[in-house]
Amino acid sequence: MTSIAGLRDLRRRTVPPKYIPVLVTAGLFLAMFVAGGIRYENFATGQIILNVFIDNAFLLVVAVGMTFVILTGGIDLSVGSVVALATMLSASLLKDGWPAYAVMALVLVIGAVLGLAMGAIIHYFEIQPFIVTLAGMFLARGLCYTISTESIPIENPTFTDIAQTRINLGGDLSVSPSAVIAVVVVLIAAYVLHYTRLGRNVYATGGSEQSALLMGLPVARTKIAVYTISGFCSALGGLLFAFYSLSGYGLSAVGMELDAIAAVVIGGTLLTGGSGFLLGTVLGVLVLGLIQTIISFEGTLSSWWTRIFIGLLLFVFILLQRVFSGGSRRRTP
């Protein structure tokens, strides 16, 4: 037995298979960056990457919440609608003269409560997450239109300040507060996933819900927690989107749930749950953002090419996942 363990030791000295999808995504990102740098002038600068962060801060935050959900083996389709609802609520409440920070707090609470409710329904009534969050998606989108069917501009000074502030990082580099918030969210989430019981329970639940239950883990709390986190992240993403667009509109962020899922999958997280890293999700969002950047540098291509590339990438990564999960399921004799 020791010799077997020794052999495995040797094999593991190379790259553990669980890191391979993340490394592939990282490699892809680097390759795209280098290729862009060779093809276009003024491309290979730090600001390009920072711009990707700035333009996709809201998507990054939403994708972080989605990562929690997907790690438990679930899915959350409501995120795009909750983003829209958050922008809509902010815009209309600010128009009514509410103080900016009270609006932010209220929006975050509403997002978290929506997530909590969906999580509780999913767990206690044992209904597929797909259906429950689909209902949540329609509900949140519908609530947007009860507020207004028109776009509402945001003129609140706090919001416009945040939107226009640029934090100088030295050199010619600068970022928006939204990007900083997104990075902080990523760091907190990565810490939670790796260093807290909640995080490990998320992985355990995604690995095998039945086993997690029999091991005495709080599966109910974990499942409800991930949807609450996702709801909170969507609301926060909505606020960032409001800073970015300075308006609230019921038709904004249509299909963002799919972008978030795509980013998570491209980041190497298994849709069946239990395997993946937050760093992968960050890389996934960066890859999506860089595709857009390259297409805008190209100039002649329409923005729909972004979709085509994302579609192709998704195919490749799902196939990759299939290869890895197929390999690990085979029992070692």
Partner: protein
Amino acid sequence: MAAPAPILRMSGIGKQFPGVKALDGVDFRLLPGEVHALMGENGAGKSTLIKVLTGVYDIDAGEIELEGRPVAFSSPLAAQQAGISTVYQEVNLCTNLSVAENIFIGREPRRLGRIQWKAMRRRAEEILARLDLDIDVSAPLSSYSLALQQMVAIARAVDIDAKVLILDEPTSSLDAGEVAQLFTVMRRLKEQGIAILFVSHFLDQIYEISDRMTILRNGTLVGEYLTSELSQVELIGKMIGRELADLEKLEERPPAGEGAPLVQAEELGRTGAIQPFTLTIHEGEVVGLAGLLGSGRTEIARLLFGADHAGTGSLKIDGEQVSLRTPRSAVARKLAFCSENRRAEGLIPDLTVRENLILALQASRGWTRPIPRRKQDELVDKYIAALNIRPANPDQLIKNLSGGNQQKVLLARWLILEPRLLILDEPTRGIDVGAKTEIQRLVAELSDGGMAVLFISAELEEVLRLSHKVGVLRDRKLVAQMDNEGLTTDTLTETIASGARS
């Protein structure tokens, strides 16, 4: 023997499921520092009793006392915190997590809420060292064999401050060496005063390790006995409630009439799975395959059934050269394969007994020609009766049946197709003596009726009892084929060990 006060006492336990009375007035007690075997056929209520004890199910009647205080656990977690840990038959761990995490999850060493990974790995290594295991604790559990996963499960259970350790069929996937290792661990735990509740279908293991046993039959208590005072024959009699005449009848096997060769494999092989082998199976012949876990037994079966592609060699059925590219083409040639892993690969738990039974027949007809309901009922009733499937209710969901009865349903599914070669991969693993005997008798009857059977089992005695010819496997190679005349388990064991045609 001055009995110390029992650490656990269950009295008058009753549990009702829709349509089934799973437990009825069962008493059970567990003394500190003993290994107590819980015996009974499948469906006798062993698993239910354990699940009631550990809080997976509520009880409908009766009470449970732990250390003299009445308790009722609402969940496995509550039972665990009170000192009752369970290792189930199927390894209930998360294979995507590391070994160390699987031991500690839920009680990770923390400082200010931050998990101390280093301390966790070090402590995991210490715990495993106590069980004489030296493995990389940061590797994912999925990279280890089922047997090692089981040991990790036990390590987890033991490290939780356990007063009562429940081992529900821990040995069904272990080989002899690993079982011995497990028993060493169990004896050490026993010395520490832990009460161990042990469930196993291997009677030899029960007699080797247990001090006392409680026997259940059909959800009721038969009695509690000291292991040393109850012979194996008496035990089986009490478990199945009838004499063992059935078992004895099988001992006289008529030799197989020399039928025509049905399946001829010539140098058939697949890289990494099984070295090229030559094997002929005649009509009406039972060919047994013996060998250790992972020696290539299942791989042979999968090649013959077309579930894997052969890399080399050729396969003839009825003297006609064939290439089985998929199981479908094997089914079309009247081969049937009852797989080893009945839960994962065979049964569909949420369908009823009837639906599971006719699945293969329907598949072979194609979905455009549904089987008439009357024909279905006729077939289902016939096979439920023939195989003595209990409960005999075709509309029961398959997941509510016990392991042995699930196995019978799986068998019946293939028998409906009236195959000419039936491949049985470990058909009797994890099922009780009664059901085992019935399946063995069925195999004998089928082969007398002209069906060829390829019989794979880890139990050498069973292979010898049924087979006309035995193939021995070792290290993914078919090392010997012997006619079953005067063969003993000793000769087989020697052949497996030496691995050569001597």
